[in-house]
Symmetry: C2
Subunit: 185 residues, 2 copies
């Protein structure tokens, strides 16, 4: 069988938003990282909220080689029961993450940037709408930018080329099944 | 900061269904492949429908090493305009894919299996409901099984531990933006 390899007449970076309350937003962003790596693209991932809980993707992306950078800037989910860090510390971390994202965008060394859970960070006021808009404005035309997290701001969705809402049909934790490696983290 | 590494009291394989018409189902499955690889898990991916169009994940998974197997058994989307293969040929391929899935399940050599677009294959009658149920029945208790594709059958969702529906909020192709490498393929 003949395999067609598409090549768009015009290559352009897309803004992709993954939102909703179901499982599959960060996961989908990681799938794009895998796919982009297959194309030899250079990837920068900045995780805004995660950081206190190990996730398999941290070691997974190492397997993809040094074209993928992963920055874990968060200290876990702000406001979630059991998270010991005060709001100010979460905000300071998220602010550092914004500065890092702008620096990485401006370096023009990447083909794909993932801002993981930035939608949550915005909703929790750890970052400001105008900061997210500044990132969208600073994006080089050829760079894919993926923004994940529940409750995406309408102005962010407005700027997206492609946006999906992932809704929960069912989830194992509702039947008291513990998070499982490989799937949940 | 201290990083917690979760370990469930009981490790168990989960059945995960990703359905809906939005972007992010196969992509999310690929994210689980990346995550599972980070945990050192062995992965088997069988793509039921794709095959005639190159996708970056084919080379992406090679970077993950020989713990990941990818089988592309399809000849493209049956019934989609421009696909030149007759129904019988699509059905024969999908039947081979089912046999392969059962063989791989029974080998007990994998921690994660992805049956990509199997929901579509079922909906298009390239495979039968009882065949998908037989796969669910044959699954070793410790194996994660991920089934993707639009229009998942209710009986399949019934068997899932976790199921998400990915809906389209917007998609670049509706504004005549061509598919872009790294994001769309």
């Amino acid at each position: 069988m003949e395999i067609t390899k598409l090549e768009p007449k015009e290559r352009r970076g897309l803004v992709v938003v993954l939102t909703g309350h179901g499982k599959g937003k960060t996961t989908s962003a990681m799938g794009m990282v895998l796919r982009a790596s297959g194309h030899g693209m250079r990837v920068c991932i900045i995780q805004f909220m995660k950081g206190d809980l190990y996730s398999g993707e941290w070691d997974g992306v190492k397997l993809l080689g040094d074209r993928v950078e992963l920055h874990v800037t968060g200290k876990g989910f702000c406001g979630i029961q059991g998270n010991p860090y005060p709001y100010d510390e979460h905000r300071r971390n998220a602010q550092d993450a914004i500065a890092l994202a702008l620096e990485k965008l401006r370096s023009d060394q990447f083909d794909l940037m993932v801002l993981d859970e930035i939608n949550n960070a915005l909703q929790l006021k750890l970052v400001d709408l105008q900061q997210v808009m500044a990132i969208l404005d600073a994006r080089p035309q050829g760079l894919h930018l993926v923004l994940t997290g529940r409750d995406a701001h309408p102005d962010v969705i407005e700027r997206a080329d492609t946006a999906s809402r992932v809704d929960e049909i069912k989830h194992a934790y509702r039947r008291d099944i513990e998070p499982q490696p490989g799937i949940d983290y």
